[in-house]
Each structure stands twice: as C-alpha cells, then as structure tokens.
Subunit: 385 residues, 2 copies
Amino acid sequence: MRTGTSRDVVVAGNGLIGLVTAWRAAQRGLKVTVVSRESRNAASGVAAGMLTPATEATFGEEPLMRFCVLSRDRYPAFIAELEGESRLHAGFRPNGTLQIAFDTDDLAKLTELSELQTRLGVKAERLTSRECRKLEPMLAPSVRGGIFAPDDHSVDPRMLADALWSAAERNGVVGVRDRVTELLTDGGRARGVRLESGGEINAEQVVLATGAWTPGIGGVPEGALPPLRPVKGQLLRLRMPENEPPIVSRTVRGLVKGSPVYLVPRADGEIVVGATQEELGYDTRLTAGGLWEVLRDAHELVPGVSELEVTETCVGLRPGSSGNEPLLGPTRLPGLHVAVGHFRHGVLLTPATGDAMAEVLAGGDLPDYARRFAATREFGSDRNE
Amino acid sequence: MRTGTSRDVVVAGNGLIGLVTAWRAAQRGLKVTVVSRESRNAASGVAAGMLTPATEATFGEEPLMRFCVLSRDRYPAFIAELEGESRLHAGFRPNGTLQIAFDTDDLAKLTELSELQTRLGVKAERLTSRECRKLEPMLAPSVRGGIFAPDDHSVDPRMLADALWSAAERNGVVGVRDRVTELLTDGGRARGVRLESGGEINAEQVVLATGAWTPGIGGVPEGALPPLRPVKGQLLRLRMPENEPPIVSRTVRGLVKGSPVYLVPRADGEIVVGATQEELGYDTRLTAGGLWEVLRDAHELVPGVSELEVTETCVGLRPGSSGNEPLLGPTRLPGLHVAVGHFRHGVLLTPATGDAMAEVLAGGDLPDYARRFAATREFGSDRNE
C-alpha cells in the first residue's frame, strides 16, 4: 500500500500512548493514521492500570513524580471527555489506593515514602494496622501498617484503549493493521514509514509510540533516538466468584520483605496481581519463578487470593529509558517525534502525554511541565533541565 | 444416529482406561465402539504419567499396591506390543524414580515408606543426600536424603492415548464424537447408550470408563454403581530451554514439609510439575493457591525450575472411589460393566485394567489379581475379598 495523499501524522504503535497522541492530534484538526498490529506483548494490554504517583514515589525521581501527579490530576476530566466522545466506559475507578507494609523493615520503608510524599505535596494518610484492616478486612493480620492515598485511583487499560480507539476514529483517525519496519527519510527529514507488508505511508510528521520495541525500527539515523531497554513484567489476572464481596475493594499495594506486589480490583470481578520487574532483554516467556514470586507475595498480603480463579497470565515489556524518564516530542531528526520510555508509568502519564504531543504536532513547543522530558535532551551523567 | 446393527461392546470414555479396554477387547475379536468428546478436563490428558507404585506405597493400601506393581511390571511388554501395533511412540521412559525428603520430618516419613516397600518386595534403594545430588545435581543442597526406585518409570499419557487410539482403530474399533448421556436398559439388562446428539447405540455390553464424570450418566438403576467422587488436581507443564541439559533427568518426587510434589521430565524438554489434591466436587477452576502450592514445593526441591517457561496449566478430576480402589468388570446390572475409580493410578493401572476388562468382555471371569476390585463388591465398612 502506498497512500495517494500524504497524511499529516503517522503514529506507529497502538498502545495507550500512541492512541492518546492520535486522538488529541486529530482533535486539533490533523489527519492522523495509526499503524499497529495487535500484540499480546503490548505493555498497555498487560498493565494493571494503577494511577498511583503517591505510592510510586521514589527518591531521586522527584521531577518525574511531579509529572505523574500532574497527569493523575488530569485523569477525571480526561475520562469524562473521552467517555463523552467515545460513548464507551473507560474503566476508571476513583476509590483510592492503600499501600501496606508486611514486616517492620517494610514499614520503615513506607515511613520514608510517606515523608517524600509530604515533600511532594501529595495526599497520603498514615494508617495503623487496624485502620488498614478496617479499610480492607481480608488483609493478613500480620500487616504492620500502611498509607492511604485518597487521590490515587485505577483504570482498566484495555477498556481505556478501546475508548481511545473509538474516540480517535470519531475524530477521523485511520487505523492500519500492519507493522512499521522502517522510518523513511528524505533530505535530512522524516517523510513517512515503510510497512512489513511492503507498503509505505507518507506523512509530514512521524510519531514512534512503539514502547520497548522502538529500537527495532530501521532507518533511524544514528543519535536521533536515545537508548531504550525492555523491562519484563509478569502478572496474573484472577477472578472473584460471582455474587461474593470483592476480596479487596480498591488498589492494594504492598511491600513483602522488600518485594513489591499489588492487587488491582475491577468492577467486573477481575483482580490484576503483579508484577515482576526483570532485566532480561526481549524475553517474553512466562516463567515458573515469575508466577511463584507474584503469587507468594500476594498470598502473604491477602491470603484469600488462593481461592480465586486464575483467568489469565500475562507478560509485558515496559519501555525503560536511561533515568527511567519518558522521551517526548521532536527528536534531532526533523519530522520525527517520539513518545516512549514511560517505563512503569505509561497508563498514568497517558493524559499529560497526549496533551504534550498534540501541542508539538500542531506546531507548538513542549509545554513547560513536559520540557524536562524532551527527546532531544542529552543522555549521560548530566541532563538538560 | 441409531446404528443399524448392534455392536458387541460400546465403551463410554476415551481416557486411557476406555481406550485400553477397547483395544484389548477388539484384539479378542469383539466389535467395539468408543463414544467420547474431547475434554480438557479428562484426567488422562492432564496426568503426569508416573508409573511409581514403589514411591506411591501407602499403609493400609497394600492390596492396591500389589495390583499397581503387577501393572507396572507389565508395562515394558505392553508398550512394545502397543508401539508395534500402533506404529507410534508411546512416550515410555524407563529410567527410574528418585524420591527425596526436604527436611528431617520428611525423611522420617520416607524411612517408613522404605520399610513398607521392602515388605511389598519392591526394589527401592535408600540414598544419602549426597547420593541423591549425584543422581540429580540440580536438587536443592538442603535435601536430606531419598530413595531410588529403579523399576518405577514414566510414560507420556498424551502420547500413550494417541498410540492406543491408533492401535484400537487398526483392530476395527469405531470412534464416535459424542457424549453418552444415558444408559439404555431393556428387561433388566443394559442394551446400549443414548447420546447427547439424540442418537442411540445398541450393544450387548456397555462399559462406562468415564472416570469422575460417571455419576452424571442417567438411566443407571439404583445400586448398580458404587459412589465415585472427583478429586481435583492442578499442575503445570514447563519447558527446558533448547540445547540445555535437563534440570532433572528422571522423575523426581519429593516431600516438602509434608507436602508431596513431583517433576516428570519428557524426552522433548517438557517437565510436568504437580499436583494438588483437592476435595472440591466438580470444580475445574485453576486457582492462585493451587499454582502457588505446586510452584513453591517444586522451587524448594529444585530451585532452578524458576527459570523455566510455563507452557501450560492443567486442571483434572481424578475418579475417587470409596477406599480409593478401582472398580472393574460386571456390575449388578447384567450387560453393564465399569472400569472406573482409578484415582491417582489410572496411567499405571492401564495395562492390567485392559487385560482384566478384555477377559470379562470376552465372557470370562475377572482374573485373580483383579478380583478384589470387582465392581460388584460390597461398599461399607466390610468388603468382599
């Protein structure tokens, strides 16, 4: 296929980041094509959908955390607009997140986290063990204490992706089921993409939203893209028996002897339990050790999970950049943009990424809040800030 | 469908027991039809295929153990004949079984087992921890000791089923893809079966080899069949990376703090790891707790399993009778036979069951070695022996 007329924008990748970029750009009047093949390894289809910057806060990552908080705060209006345009339910559940500590060492780490949260200005209430169990009665009695983050919610990434597709199509976005194998350039700028089927799509602007798979796209000039690595995650989807109260009623994250685990319940009775974090390259094997680790920690926190049915096992590759921060907007090659490197924060950063990408695709600059994450920044020991 | 001519024998169920019965009966010149639908819950398709009476020996089950040993001893000739007739490889691996103990309590139980084995006259050598690791270098260093049973082998039940189908067909057995819903009787004797599709098959003799699902078949007169219950098992199939030495080279069974677990390697790199034993009725849900228990115990015995890919998760229902002994041959209803209740020993008891069933279907009596397991025996506190 070689399209007769050139498009304004071609987006490679139909994860949440690619879809939100397409939708937001189309809302600005741009003609957008999204090229992607469905893949069970797409991180968006695997992700649990926690919107939890308060409980993700990490020392040394304060600027990223501020970006996460900004994106989180945009979620309610983003969902309202998206559901209005798509006429689909996007699976947003605004019921807070409980983070709990299994032993005293875990509690010490949670106390440090709570101090960081205070410094970042995010709402998080320290709870005793008894208060945790009052919120979630199925927690193991041995739980030492926790933090309740009332503004950290969850969304179902699969429902969200469906809603984004629908909203994008209603705004004229065209979908192409194929894989981008190569960037096409002409006279020192991007001019389109080559497809696995052999066709080409011409476009004034190309956006790579291909997550951990981005380095596999050919034709990108040396130095135009910063390095990315895949960070493997394994998780399970469980199901509550019908007509029984949910085993947890909101997102529960825990530290179990230093090992992080989460349970994210959905309205339909599904519970996502995860996840490993493994640096193994492009390895998407489901492993005995990965399943065991997740099941062991979930069982320690909420013993009743043992009775739940396992409906699905999932493996995904998170796109990790140097410094674990996203890479947004124009690259050093004119006409080539990226929206990659969201690591563990892709779902959370979807609203803010869409806004920032639409702005640059419509001819503007990266908004202030996203400037730190410019794809043109230097990589090494120092960074442009 | 209503067959024009009546068949000599109709067998309900295409598990190993149904297939071996059909094959052996056809070898005697009987016209046999096997009725079955493929089911992922068929115990034969889930089973690991251990042929291990020596390491299964249980106090109070000596008569059953003697029957198991007899059937085990028939395996090599049975496989040779079957492979000759079917021209298929049946997946028999004659390389012994290592049973190991994880802690000192487990070792005490293994010592008792070893004494029982001696009494039953089955070959089993006591090994030190070091000798165990010499046989299987990937065992956890903490393993306390074990028993090597040189005559306890394994078979791949899926390959065995394929070979039995092929051999049965070459002997004229006809397969019907349907489900038997009801036994048909006439004048106080069985005359055939009704199918889910609405058809009927007439036969002089009916054999129910429908495992734990037998009680769901209608039309059986009160008291003709003894009670059966399903005993749920959950297990996993793992895969070795290609071109790497196997993580275990023979069947390894272990007791881990009283909890039994096994790893059964295949020639093609598959390793079956199992199994739970749960009394939950007709529950075939894969559960978080079931997976966790199997993975935990396997990991304790052979830590390297963590690195292996999980290729399949399986749930099956073992057919358990009162006393956990099989039920063979004629029932109290003339013309109705059963071959059910094999519990954890179905694969192992396949050769002896086939021989015994063919004998009665051809007009003879149950052989001496099978008489204790007659389906007409009394059920209660006493038994006919």
